[in-house]
């Protein structure tokens, strides 16, 4: 049914339709509305049988999720930013033990400096945690991807993160088509665990493994996650049939036919990029976009095929690997192998800075003119940085950077207006 809903509410509905049995959660912006919505549904009995456990921290949330999932319950949680970091130790246990927990990441920056706004620093920091990571472009895709995620997780017995841009998607009201319970039930059967803690048939899950088999267990995790590369497109096609709309599989191309310049990105910024591409195409510029939906496992072959005709690739990244630059770009380099195609990394949208069509247009024009460096920061206020560097050169005790720079631009503590 078509509804005008907030992204978080839409996701709460989608998760409820998947009939989770245990939801341990701890609130953190911008994820809070999702678990609030679910807790309300559990309280009214709209979502039953389901136990909502208001835990004392994110570490507890993931620990309870592990316990619940190991006893055979379909388990869901959500978090963001520092909350994700706080559960990291347990996160690796969930994947290492092969527990099919589904978790929404309402993508948000990581401090310091503290910042509640959107970028991909949080989920990117966990790209190697063994969790499957799916990034969504719109709230419709968020709904559909959560339904797919439960089936994918349980089929492979691996946990899945669905990453959606905090605020930009979670707090946006837009038109979404919420599936019926009958449609979701047709796609997603009750959870049938591959391993379960059952008192009548006792087993141990989580044994200590020494050098004799540790490599093999880890290699198996790699092999298992790689199975998602076949399974995601297969499940997406099946879900297409049930919902009557195109899901897209591992990657999604936009006007890639004959594109000489290809912009690669993840998440909601793809919408703004597509609009900018349409404008450029009207002027005869051969530019297209490649959206990466499955970031872990990374679809090397699909990316290689999609970029085969490109003369240059521009990777827009909402996270920064300090000391090297891009994160997604490194994987793009691997996908391109020995190809001579130049890859430009553009760090953009950090801590909620809007990525505008005007900036994207300048970026594309710069790339075409051969003026784009290997690593650039979109809309960087270089003068502000230089002033702070100057202070550190002039005075040893020059004070805290963030506060100095805020003072320079005349802001005490506020967000973008």
């Amino acid at each position: 049914m078509l509804e005008q809903l907030e992204g978080s509410v839409a996701v709460a509905h989608a998760v409820a339709l998947c009939r989770p049995e245990v939801i341990p959660a701890y609130p953190i912006s911008p994820q809070t509305h999702i678990v609030e919505g679910l807790s309300a549904m559990v309280k009214t009995g709209e979502l039953a049988p389901c136990e909502f456990i208001n835990v004392e921290s994110e570490y507890a949330a993931m620990s309870v999720a592990i316990g619940a999932s190991a006893t055979g319950a379909r388990t869901y949680t959500a978090t963001a930013s520092q909350g994700l970091l706080y559960m990291v130790e347990a996160l690796y246990n969930a994947s290492g033990l092969g527990l099919p927990i589904v978790m929404t990441i309402a993508n948000r920056a990581i401090g310091a400096p503290i910042n509640i706004w959107n970028d991909h620093s949080d989920s990117m920091s966990q790209r190697d945690s063994g969790w499957i990571q799916l990034y969504v472009e719109s709230n419709q895709e968020a709904i559909d991807t959560h339904i797919l995620a439960f089936r994918l997780a349980e089929e492979l017995s691996l946990p899945v993160m669905v990453c959606m841009d905090g605020f930009i998607l979670t707090h946006a009201y837009e038109r979404v088509d919420v599936p019926s319970q009958e449609q979701v039930d047709r796609f997603l059967s009750p959870y049938e665990p591959r391993q379960v803690l059952d008192p009548s048939e006792p087993v141990t899950i989580g044994a200590m493994v020494g050098p004799e088999a540790f490599t093999e267990v880890k290699y198996l995790a790699h092999v298992k996650q790689a199975q998602a590369l076949d399974l995601i497109p297969e499940l997406a096609r099946e879900l297409d049939g049930v919902l009557g709309r195109e899901q897209g599989g591992l990657v999604r191309g936009y006007r890639l036919q004959d594109a000489e310049t290809v912009i690669v990105a993840l998440g909601s910024v793809l919408g703004t990029i597509e609009d900018a591409i349409d404008q450029q195409r009207e002027q005869g510029v051969k530019v297209g976009a490649l959206g990466i939906k499955a970031f872990r496992p990374f679809p090397l072959q699909e990316v290689r095929d999609a970029l085969a005709g490109a003369a240059r690739v521009v990777v827009i990244e909402k996270a920064l690997a300090v000391g090297i630059g891009g994160i997604v770009s490194q994987d793009i380099h691997i996908a391109l192998g020995s190809s001579a195609t130049p890859v430009h990394t553009v760090i953009a949208g950090l801590g909620g800075r809007p990525i505008t069509s005007a900036s994207l247009t300048r970026l594309i024009e710069g790339a075409l003119a051969g003026e784009l460096a290997e690593l650039t920061f979109l809309d960087l206020n270089a003068e502000l940085v230089e002033r702070e560097l100057q202070r550190t050169r002039e005075k040893r005790r020059s004070g805290p950077h963030a506060e100095n720079m805020l003072r320079d631009i005349g802001v005490v503590a506020a967000g973008p207006v």
Binding site: A172, Y173, E174, S357, G415
Partner: protein, 193 residues
């Protein structure tokens, strides 16, 4: 695509206003996207929200930097925040005030814009009478509907009815209708002149 930017202060329902407007457009079978400026929510702090309305799917996610219409729920923001930034030359402005643009010290500024599209309504007074509180968000949408025609007054009223509990909805709808009438009266006068 029609872009609206709404300025107000934390507690005045600025974010809800954008959501209501998107709901009104949705009820007309159109695409609409509403989102806040994502500040740390504090009562009294300047807050901005956005709404886009279009006949086809809206893909862009950037803030509305060149609005077709501006709603200013709190006139004390006029000299604190650049509320008019990026307004299109043929844009609409609706300010919650008992004063006109000249009295607000905006006479000079209005020269570059279409006068008949720049109006004030005493939405706080109207809301105080109808609702008993000064939360002019829903009411001003009635005025905006009449001023711009981007959605109908009836769609605004049904969005309010859907979103608010019954009693509060009725009072807000009454306030929205009065704002619309006040706007209509000014538009009539402006056409007459």
């Amino acid at each position: 695509m029609f872009g609206v930017r709404i300025h107000g202060r934390g507690g005045q329902g600025v974010v809800t206003a954008a959501e209501l407007l998107s709901l009104a457009a949705f009820e007309e079978g159109r695409h609409a996207q509403a989102f806040p400026s994502f500040g740390s929510e504090r009562t009294g702090a300047p807050v901005v929200s956005f709404c886009r309305i279009a006949e086809r799917e809206i893909r862009t996610r950037e803030p509305v930097s060149q609005p077709d219409a501006l709603v200013v729920q709190d006139p004390t923001l006029l000299h604190q925040v650049d509320v008019f930034g990026g307004l299109r030359p043929d844009g609409y402005v609706l300010i919650n005030s008992t004063h006109g643009f000249d009295e607000l010290g905006l006479g000079e500024w209005t020269r570059n814009f279409r006068h008949e599209r720049l109006l004030t309504v005493p939405a706080s007074d109207i809301c105080r009478r109808h609702i008993g509180q000064m939360r002019p968000n829903a009411a001003m949408l009635g005025g905006l509907a009449r001023l711009t025609g981007i959605v109908t007054l009836e769609s605004v009223c049904s969005a309010i009815a859907e979103r608010f509990p019954a009693g509060l909805a009725e009072r807000n709808i009454a306030a929205a209708r009065e704002c619309a009438e006040r706007v209509a009266a000014q538009l009539g006068a402006s056409v007459g002149a």
